[in-house]
Symmetry: C2
């Protein structure tokens, strides 16, 4: 199937190749290749100009796929985001990671391929049905068993993998984990509210299991233990993480007469829902009820009083993952298989 003359059909089949350029410039394909790749030492000035002219006239763009096959490198990193909802980029924590990763990779000539997928469908993702990446980043969620299974699967790909916020113990030299210090974040935030007199804490967690959430909760427990006071903690699961659902779950809990003087949101969205719920019922924040969030990116500013929260280094985490992956591609191994990035406590008026 040859090109159909000069009608610019918009299809791969009709895109010019090195050979077309070579014929047009009356040189060999190799010379064109040399020009395209700026190996100027190997090409005479006049020849180069002729070739460049042909390239322009034919509107030649090299085929990434051929280069990849020939070079046995894909110059692509794949990102899989496990999520139950189709809006897999809703969480700013995730978008910051992806943006950081993407920027880092672009700067090094790599592409980013991205896919959102249900936690139980990871191994069936289009991204893995055939492999066109040099390395993988994954943000997993779901039960330990599900995550374990997905990690095992990723290992079969024979590519370096960076996981975010994963707490499973993994014993492979080709899997690294990048996390923020959620434990310390939880500890700091609990210490803060306890220091301000709170005694009955309520932790709001999304129904979907994210390992990071459990870490935050463990941090809170650690702070309670350290305080040696009679502080109590209850966990409340908020189905679907939606605004209205969160508020009605909270409403049911409070209506049952349970004493609560601090609500610790597993993330900012949960915290804001709770705060608005209180304010709508004239429960003074922070007077009667302290409210804290987690992973403040922008939304902590949206409320009045501003949200006391933990600022996440998500963008840096993405960049870091990119650097680690590319380094593994060169070195064949990860220098560090576990990296913990510090978080920052940020006081607002809500607690």
């Amino acid at each position: 199937m040859r090109a159909k003359g000069n009608v610019a059909r918009q299809s791969k089949a009709s895109r010019p190749t090195l050979r077309h350029v070579a014929e047009r410039a009356h040189v060999s394909v190799m010379t064109v290749s040399n020009v395209v790749n700026e190996r100027n030492q190997f090409v005479g000035v006049k020849t180069r100009e002729r070739v460049q002219k042909a390239i322009r006239e034919l509107n030649y763009h090299p085929s990434a796929t051929s280069r990849k096959l020939r070079g046995m490198q894909d110059f692509t990193i794949g990102v899989v985001i496990a999520d139950d909802e189709p809006a897999f980029l809703k969480d700013p924590f995730i978008t910051e990671i992806v943006a950081g990763l993407g920027n880092q990779l672009s700067a090094q000539g790599y592409s980013l391929s991205i896919q959102g997928v249900r936690p139980d469908q990871v191994s069936k993702a289009v991204m893995f049905s055939s492999v066109g990446t040099d390395g993988i980043c994954a943000i997993l969620c779901g039960s330990e068993a599900t995550r374990r299974r997905n990690v095992e699967f990723l290992l079969t790909l024979r590519q370096p993998v960076v996981l975010f916020q994963e707490t499973l113990e993994i014993d492979s030299p080709h899997i690294a984990v990048v996390s923020q210090d959620d434990h310390e974040g939880g500890r700091e935030i609990a210490r803060h509210v306890i220091g301000r007199g709170a005694r009955n804490l309520l932790f709001l967690r999304p129904s979907m299991e994210w390992p990071a959430i459990s870490e935050r909760c463990r941090g809170i427990r650690a702070a309670i233990k350290e305080s040696r006071s009679g502080v109590r903690l209850t966990e409340l699961e908020c189905p679907h993480e939606g605004f209205a659902e969160t508020q009605s779950a909270l409403g049911r809990y409070l209506a049952a007469g349970k004493a609560v003087d601090a609500i610790l949101g597993g993330n900012d969205r949960l915290a804001i829902a709770a705060m608005r719920y209180c304010q709508d019922r004239d429960i003074d924040v922070p007077g009667k009820m302290k409210v804290t969030g987690f992973n403040g990116f922008d939304s902590w500013r949206y409320t009045k009083p501003e949200l006391t929260t933990i600022v996440s280094p998500a963008h840096e985490m993405g960049q870091l993952a990119g650097r680690m992956l590319l380094k593994h591609l060169r070195a064949g191994t990860f220098a560090r298989r576990k990296v913990l990035v510090p978080v920052r406590f940020q006081a607002g008026g809500s607690a």
Copy 2:
């Protein structure tokens, strides 16, 4: 360079190929290929089992790159997001589009490649340095001249292109534009505040030029014209779109003694910044000052009173773009080159 024995080096070089599987199963590569692609009619049952065993044992995964080259199709759509800031996925409008697109493409066996890039660097994006996509989606911004140049460039790629929210007139059968009805959205929101008595409107626009913002502004002007009243509109540019910067720009404007009774945010973030500014200075919202946003996804719920805003169909726009692109890949042309998706006015308490 052969594989290095049985040590599982984690590199492309050592990944098993069809040939390895074929040797192990004592069949030809073609037979393995047939098994992998489930062309069961061409393979005997016993042979198939032997091959599957070899595949499992060697941990074979087909090479996407080879398939792409051989099939002259990349099964990949590229998304370029022009943005001045590195956090190119910060805007939920964009993430919803990307998620919608990604979901649609995955469902059809396509991958999504994504890159954020400065508006004046689009043509230098890694994504285009060599072409490994079948089609392109672009969210452009910047001046008309810049966008025009970028569109021209995209045309040289000889691929179908879907642009979001683009207002330039483009005359190519291979470029389609998907937009939400920003004009109507602006009109509705202005009509609303005017109906409630506002006479001096202030439109907050981000300093980066987005065509959609201009559309919203035009819609506002249209509503003012229709109202046949002495309503006045001023535009205020908010540098960097940041919270503090927006507030100080607004502060400077109001301090100059200009009369304003309604602030129309070009997007929700700007609106929320303005609303918080007013509330901190005891300017009653909506009593003394009406405030409206645009593109409410979640954050409209974060404020008290809740934000009156326009709900964007961004996810659907992404899905739609995906369908259009894949259809072009089959049909060689776009059925419609301009699609306008309706928006929905959503009343809150802020206006």
